[in-house]
Amino acid sequence: MNSLKKLKMKKVKNLLSSKEDVNKVRSSLEQKTAQTFVDFAKSKQKVQEMAKYLD
C-alpha cells in the first residue's frame, strides 16, 4: 500500500512476530469472550422457543 510508505509512523517489527504470539492473542480474545458468546447463542434459542398482538 502506497499510503503505508507515507505513514508518519515507524514500523514495529518485534511485536507479534511469531505464530505463537499471534495464537496467544487469538486465545486471549477467545477466553475473554467465550462465556458471553455462549450466552448469546442461548438467548437466540430462547427467541425460537418463545411463543402478543400489537394493534
Binding site: 500500500m1 507515507k6 514495529v12 517489527k13 507479534l16 480474545l29 469472550t33 418463545m50 394493534d55
Partner: protein
C-alpha cells in the same frame, strides 16, 4: 404566482396526505424536523421529491403515517415507515404500499390478514425478511443490561427499528436519539450511551418525532408517555451480509481494548483504558472512506483507511475521552469486518490508538504473523500528545 411554488423551498416544511377514511385519516407524511421547534436530537432522515402544480420541491424528514385500522394497525404503520425510508434511500429496496405491507406476512395461523386484528413481533420479523432485510429480534429479558445499549448502537448506526411495547400492545418506530453531553456519570471507561436522554420515535397515534424518555421526570418538550424501559422487544433491519451483530462487537471491542498484547494500556503511552469513552456503530465502508478521505486523522492514517481493503459494511468502535467527546473529537478507533463470522475473534481490520496502528490482513486464515502490519509513533521525534480528530458523522442528522 400559484405555479411558482418552488420559490418557497426554504420555508417548505413538508406534506401530509389526508385519506378518505372515517377513522384515522393521516396518510403518508414527511415533515422536516429542522423546521419543527419542538424537535431536537440525532435523527435518520432522507429527501423526497414533491410535485405541486408543476413545481418540484424537496421534502426532508422521516416517513410517517397513522394506522387506518381497516387494513393497517400500528405494527403495519411502524413497518411501512421503515420500508419507505429504505426504499427512498437505497435503490436495493422497492417501495411497498400499505396493503402490500399487510401481505408481507403469510402467517395466517391466527386468522385472516385483513382486516387486521394486530400482529405479533414474529410476524413483524417475517415482514422484514420478506421485504428484503435479514432482521434480528432482541428481547429485553434475554439481554438484560445490554438491551438498551444494543438499541442505542443500532440507532446510532442509522438503522431505524420497530420497538415493541408488549405491555401497551403497541409498536413504534425508533428513528433517532437525544443525548446530553453535559450529563455527569460515575466514571470511565464508559460507552456513549451514558449520555442518552431518550430515543426519538414515530408513534402512529401522535405527531412524528416523539421523544421516548429514559428517566423521569418528563423533560420539557414533545415527549411520549412511554419510557425506554417499556420497550421489551425490538426488530432491527440488517443487510444480508451483516453477520456480526452488535452484541458480539460490544464484547469483542472490550476484549481487544483490555487484551495483554493489543490492549490500550499495553500499546499506548498517551491514553489509558480507564479514561476512555467509546462510541460503536455500523456503517458502510464506502461512507467511512468518503468521510475520512482528506480528514484530519493524524500521521497519514486517513489515506491508509482509504486504501485498505474493506468489506461492504464495517463496525467502528471510536475511542475518545469525556472532554474530547463533548467537542465531537476522538483519539482513535477499531474497525471490524461486519461480514465476519461471529465466532471469529480476529474480525478486526485495524486498531488505531493515538500513538499506535495495527492493520490485520483478513485474507490470512491462520496465525501467520505476516497478517499484521504494525506501526507506532516515534516518541523520540514525534509529538507526545494526543492529536484528536473529528468523530464520524454520516448515519444520523443533527437537529
Amino acid at each position: 404566482m400559484l405555479f411558482k411554488l418552488d420559490r418557497f423551498q426554504d420555508e417548505y416544511i413538508g406534506f401530509i396526505v389526508l385519506r378518505p377514511n372515517r377513522v384515522k385519516a393521516i396518510g403518508r407524511t414527511i415533515l422536516d424536523p429542522e423546521k419543527l421547534s419542538f424537535v431536537s436530537g440525532h435523527i435518520c432522515i432522507s429527501t423526497y421529491p414533491v410535485h405541486i402544480l408543476g413545481a418540484e420541491l424537496t421534502a426532508t424528514g422521516f416517513p410517517y403515517m397513522s394506522q387506518d385500522s381497516d387494513v393497517t394497525v400500528c405494527a403495519h404503520a411502524a413497518c411501512w415507515m421503515i420500508f419507505r425510508y429504505f426504499s427512498q434511500r437505497y435503490n436495493r429496496y422497492s417501495e411497498k404500499w400499505p396493503y402490500e405491507v399487510s401481505q408481507l406476512t403469510r402467517d395466517v395461523s391466527t386468522g385472516r390478514l385483513v382486516p387486521s386484528k394486530g400482529l405479533t413481533a414474529y410476524q413483524v420479523t417475517e415482514m422484514f425478511s420478506n421485504f428484503g432485510f435479514t432482521p434480528e429480534i432482541y428481547i429485553r429479558g434475554h439481554h438484560q443490561d445490554l438491551f438498551d445499549k444494543l438499541l442505542y448502537m443500532y440507532v446510532e448506526s442509522g438503522l431505524p427499528v420497530v420497538a415493541v411495547l408488549t405491555g401497551h400492545r403497541h409498536a413504534i418506530t425508533i428513528i433517532g436519539h437525544l443525548s446530553d453531553f453535559n450529563i455527569s456519570f460515575p466514571g470511565t471507561p464508559e460507552s456513549s450511551d451514558v449520555y442518552l436522554c431518550g430515543f426519538i420515535a414515530n408513534d402512529d397515534n401522535f405527531l412524528p418525532y416523539h421523544g421516548v424518555r429514559k428517566n423521569d421526570p418528563v423533560p420539557d418538550g414533545y415527549w411520549s408517555r412511554f419510557k425506554v424501559e417499556d420497550i421489551d422487544t425490538f426488530i432491527v433491519p440488517l443487510y444480508e451480509k451483516n453477520h456480526l451483530s452488535a452484541e458480539h462487537i460490544v464484547k469483542l471491542s472490550e476484549a481487544i481494548l483490555t487484551e495483554e498484547t493489543l490492549g490500550l494500556n499495553a500499546r499506548s503511552n498517551l491514553l489509558q483504558y480507564e479514561d476512555i469513552i467509546t462510541r460503536t456503530f455500523l456503517t458502510s465502508s464506502k461512507s467511512f472512506k468518503r468521510m475520512r478521505r482528506g480528514d484530519s486523522v493524524p500521521f497519514g492514517i486517513a489515506n491508509v483507511y482509504c486504501e485498505m481493503a474493506m468489506p461492504k459494511f464495517i463496525w467502528v468502535c471510536e475511542i475518545s475521552t469525556p472532554d474530547l467527546f463533548k467537542d465531537g473529537k476522538i483519539a482513535g478507533e477499531i474497525l471490524f469486518d461486519a461480514t465476519a463470522n461471529p465466532h471469529d475473534r480476529m474480525a478486526f481490520l485495524s486498531i488505531h490508538y493515538p500513538d499506535f496502528l495495527l492493520l490485520n490482513n483478513r485474507d490470512f486464515l491462520t496465525n501467520d504473523p505476516k497478517r499484521f502490519n504494525i506501526h507506532a509513533v516515534d516518541t523520540d521525534t514525534d509529538t507526545n500528545e494526543i492529536i484528536p480528530y473529528h468523530c464520524y458523522v454520516n448515519n444520523l442528522f443533527e437537529v
